[in-house]
């Protein structure tokens, strides 16, 4: 299908040059959606109500020159924990099944201002807690490469929708790998920007000190275009920084330019990320990428990052602690699920929350409440914060000598349904490759680097220094060029939709 062969910039150019109308574009995608969604289940809400009016508005805006940017007219899907005014935002939870925000998240505002069109809201693990999208209260999302496997999570719906060609772009959120890991599992590109780069205003908080909204696309260039649209200081989020976001040039760099940028670029590969916990095929794919970079003028060196193995422990303590507080606002008073028949205030709170939240969410809230409680605060929460500092410092040290750190995005490819949730600890350990980045607030991108014997994609993770997204894009684009075109799920013929 032609529409999905082109880059998002090219798509926008076609629309702006009137070679393609907004309606034609949206209609084509809606046909895709109608065909694939019943099996795939990437979406929770399709934006039926506002769509006609919005298409009209965008078409007029393009004509009048109001929408002239690189993404004008391009449709997008939004993870369902990002508030959209007038469009249901559930966080994949029964708690918010009927919640319709009265305001737009800053990122949503920005992509509206850029003339983009929201097609719908995508499925996710409940409140972004999970790595398979199986903790969603509403439906399972399948992996477009193999329907008996999970798409990863928690931004599983967003990544599956892009991988299946339902939308060219999507937004996800990444607290411990929730953009990068499903991007890897679905064979697409996903970026977790530096903490403070993208406004969190309107992102329903899971762990505030680590949450970051990230773009998902089929290529690094697509991903970057969306990043440039949403990134930058926001007066509504005090944690965003006043640093300029470098905008890419009007033209898309050619092959030579991309590869040229890799020359002399220094990549560090921490050996801890390629140990026993990582599946052989994943290790081989990453080693393949290392060789490719090395052969093309980059410097690739093995290093040691010994604190990596402590990241999961520190991450879960901090994430659960913050979550226990962030999710206390869901109490049945102002919005969301409220249990019937409670006599007292306490009873109303307990019933509403116990009935409204799913198992995984409750487990993390209980753990977090415990980790912050009297007598345990120092031993668990404070200890984790100290280790977090050491992890950040260890990364800082690596970046004194290297431009990028290269690792697998996940130790395995996408597991089958029903395997991950059996053992929470085992499930958490699968996040080992991604969580350290969130603890340290660094940017990281996942780019497809191979396909395993079962036909499932493998992701390569590139980690950059804080606010060095530019370097990360250069490295990722260069690698992408060397690797060659990555197949899509549907071209692969593996997609049995």
């Amino acid at each position: 299908m032609e529409l999905l062969q082109m880059s998002v910039r090219a798509m926008s150019e076609k629309i702006k040059s009137k070679a393609l109308s907004v309606k034609e574009t949206v209609d084509a995608l809606q046909m895709k959606l109608a065909e694939k969604e019943p099996m795939l289940g990437a979406f929770l809400t399709i934006n039926d109500m506002q769509l006609e009016q919005r298409m009209d508005e965008v078409q007029k805006g393009i004509r009048s020159g109001r929408y002239a940017g690189p993404l004008a007219g391009v449709p997008i899907a939004i993870k369902d924990n990002i508030c959209t005014k007038g469009l249901r935002t559930t966080c994949g939870s029964r708690m918010l099944e009927r919640f319709v925000p009265a305001y737009d998240a800053t990122v949503v505002q920005r992509l509206q201002d850029a003339g983009m069109i929201i097609l719908g809201k995508t499925n996710m693990d409940e409140f972004a807690m999970g790595s398979t999208t199986e903790t969603s209260a509403f439906r399972l999302t399948k992996n477009p490469w193999n329907m008996s496997h999970v798409p990863g999570g928690s931004s599983g719906g967003s990544c599956a929708a892009v991988a299946a060609g339902e939308v060219p772009l999507a937004l996800g959120s990444d607290t411990g790998g929730s953009v990068r890991q499903p991007a890897a599992f679905c064979g697409v590109v996903g970026l977790k920007p530096t903490y403070g780069r993208v406004s969190r205003y309107g992102l329903v908080a899971y762990a505030s000190s680590m949450d970051q909204i990230g773009p998902i696309g089929r290529t690094v260039a697509d991903c970057r275009a969306l990043y440039e649209c949403v990134a930058g200081y926001d007066e509504k989020d005090a944690t965003t920084v006043k640093r300029e976001v470098t905008k890419s040039l009007g033209h898309e760099p050619n092959v030579e330019e991309r590869i040229e940028k890799l020359k002399g670029m220094r990549f560090a590969v921490p050996k801890e990320y390629l140990g026993e916990g990582t599946r052989e095929e994943v290790r081989e794919a990453v080693k393949g990428a290392m060789k490719l970079l090395d052969r093309n003028g980059a410097v690739v060196e093995e290093i040691s990052l010994p604190l990596a193995e402590y990241a999961v422990a520190a991450y879960y303590i901090i994430a659960c602690a913050e979550a226990s507080s962030n999710l206390s606002r869901f109490d049945g008073v102002k919005y969301g699920y409220r249990a019937e028949g409670a006599e007292t205030l306490h009873e109303m709170y307990v019933k509403s929350r116990s009935e409204g939240f799913g198992e995984e969410v409750k487990r993390r809230i209980l753990l977090g409440s415990f980790a912050l409680s009297e007598g345990y605060y120092d031993a668990y929460y404070l200890k984790a914060l100290k280790v977090r500092r050491l992890i950040r410092e260890a990364f800082d040290k690596v970046f004194e000598n290297y431009d990028c750190i290269l690792t697998p995005t996940a130790p395995t490819t996408a597991p089958k349904f029903g395997t991950a949730l059996k053992d929470p600890l085992l499930m958490y350990l699968q996040d080992a490759d991604t969580v350290a980045v969130n603890l340290a607030g660094l940017p990281a991108i996942s780019v497809p680097c191979g396909i395993d014997a079962e036909g499932l994609p493998i992701g390569l993770q590139l980690i950059g220094n804080a606010f060095c997204e530019e370097t990360l894009f250069a490295a990722a684009e260069g690698y992408e060029e060397l690797r060659g075109k990555f197949p899509t799920a549907w071209e692969q013929g593996r997609e049995r939709l």
């Binding site: 908080a205 005090a238 226990s324 008073v333």
Partner: protein, 477 residues
């Protein structure tokens, strides 16, 4: 009666509500009396995804109060979340400060002792609950949710209700002079929690303390302190333990009740608020605020006594309000008659305030008008009785006294030409009295003055009449 002697140990936690235009973490208005839930937004109602952004003015108020209480200002301060479930608290956590508060280690001088201030921190206020007893429900109004507060925590350095009240008065005066809060106990813009324990006289070990809430006046504070002291002594002497708890004072009943509940935990799980990065307070910022600090009450009162020669008592009263003090000083300067000005303020002005039930802050007259009147009296342009009437008008409606006096015919007659006619008439009407005067009966002079005043309907300036009469009488002689 207690068998032994006991000492009372008191520390205070005082919340003051700041009079900023907007809330601490969002751009919602803070005006009183708005319809329920109108002054709200996603931030102050805890909507999913909303984020707090700190109001600069709140930090400035905290720094100013910190400087005024001799506190150490933190160069880097952080906010923490205090986690507890209650419907007036929409996020079910309050953004406050625990680990690195904005100010620490201050003190206030009261009477003959110094009360140490442990720390001061910024936090957000809760919403309001309206109870419907009959329906068994409570209604939540978030208009007050997110209104900025500063909490001032003292060390347990006070022993009596008098000391407590002196400390509160002092703190209140600082806030009023800084213009950061109106500090009204009755209206809740100043809230006082009393931490009290007793110990055997002379003992070094502190007893178990309780925290008393719901104290809405200085009288209630004094009563609650006396009652709680008695209650704790009774328990100790009857062999029971004092339980560390929060109690609610019922001023009508004169007793307090425990506020414990098995469904609530005192474990607030404070942790650093990740949504607000550390607030850095640079030297320049502090110096800027220091340079803008007002002259506080005591300095001002001393200077008034010194500079204007008014009694210390008057100076103390006139500086109870920064606004009143400013009005006094401006009026005194303009009239050049500071002592007369003080008399008018201490007498008439305070009486008028009392009558109208107004606060000094509500006074809106211009010092020029007050000064004009005081000078007119001094110059004999108006008599005392009329002057009081005009002064009331100046205070009430800020009228320009000279034109007002003229319009209403309240000016004293001092025009000799006009008065000469009246004098001539009187001298002609009472030849026998004139004779008596000339024969040395000086007493009758008063009668003649009275007659002239009568003829001018009391408007004549007595000084001018005196002079004119004497001159005329001597001429006849």
């Amino acid at each position: 009666m207690a068998k032994k002697q006991y000492d009372t140990v008191i520390g205070l936690e005082v919340h003051i509500e700041l009079s900023t235009e907007t809330k601490i973490f969002c751009g919602c208005a803070t005006k009183f009396g708005a319809m329920p839930n109108t002054q709200t937004c996603p931030v102050c109602t805890g909507m999913p995804g909303s984020l707090p952004v700190l109001n600069k003015k709140v930090v400035e108020a905290a720094i100013a109060l910190g400087l005024a209480t001799n506190s150490r200002i933190s160069r880097r301060t952080i906010f923490d979340r205090k986690n507890y479930f209650y419907p007036d608290n929409p996020q079910n956590y309050q953004i406050s400060q625990l680990y690195v508060p904005v100010c620490r280690d201050g003190f206030l001088e009261i009477e003959n002792k110094s009360v140490r201030i442990h720390e001061m921190h910024m936090e957000e206020d809760a919403g309001k609950l309206v109870h419907d007893e009959a329906a068994g429900i409570s209604l939540v109004d978030y208009n007050r949710s997110g209104v900025p507060l500063i909490e001032i925590v003292s060390e347990p350095d006070m022993e009596t209700a008098e000391e407590v009240i002196a400390y509160l008065e002092k703190l209140r005066m600082l806030c009023l002079y800084l213009g950061i809060s109106d500090c009204k106990l009755q209206e809740g813009s100043m809230r006082v929690d009393v931490n009290l324990s007793v110990k055997e006289a002379g003992s070094e070990t502190l007893g178990t303390r309780t925290e008393m809430k719901n104290l809405n006046s200085f009288k209630a504070i004094a009563r609650a302190i006396a009652a709680e002291r008695e209650r704790q002594i009774m328990r100790i002497e009857s062999g029971q333990e004092v339980v560390q708890e929060t109690r609610r004072w019922d001023d009508a009943e004169g007793v307090s009740y425990s506020m414990r509940s098995k469904e609530d935990s005192k474990d607030y799980r404070y942790f650093p608020e990740p949504d607000i990065p550390p607030v850095l307070i640079g030297r320049e910022w502090i110096d800027g605020i220091r340079n803008r600090q007002p002259e506080f009450k005591e300095e001002k009162a001393a200077r008034f006594t010194e500079e204007y020669g008014i009694p210390a008592y008057d100076a103390d009263i006139l500086t109870q309000s920064r606004h009143l003090a400013t009005l006094f000083e401006e009026t005194a300067k303009r009239s050049g008659l500071p002592k007369k000005t003080a008399n008018w303020f201490m007498g008439e002005l305070l009486r008028l305030l009392k009558e109208s039930g107004k606060e000094p802050e509500e006074l809106t007259f211009s010092p020029k008008h007050a000064a004009d009147l005081i000078v007119a009296v001094e110059e004999g342009k108006i008599n005392q009785a009329n002057a009081k009437e005009v002064f009331a008008k100046v205070v009430e409606a800020d009228v320009a006294p000279l034109s007002y006096m003229e319009q209403r015919g309240l000016m004293s007659l001092s025009d000799e030409g006009v008065l000469q006619a009246a004098v001539d008439e009187v001298l002609a009407e009472y030849p026998e009295i004139v004779e008596e005067y000339r024969s040395g009966k000086d007493k009758v002079f008063g009668f003649l003055v009275g007659q002239v005043m009568k003829k001018t309907k009391g408007k004549a300036d007595p000084g001018t009449v005196n002079g004119l009469l004497r001159k005329n009488l001597s001429r006849f002689a």
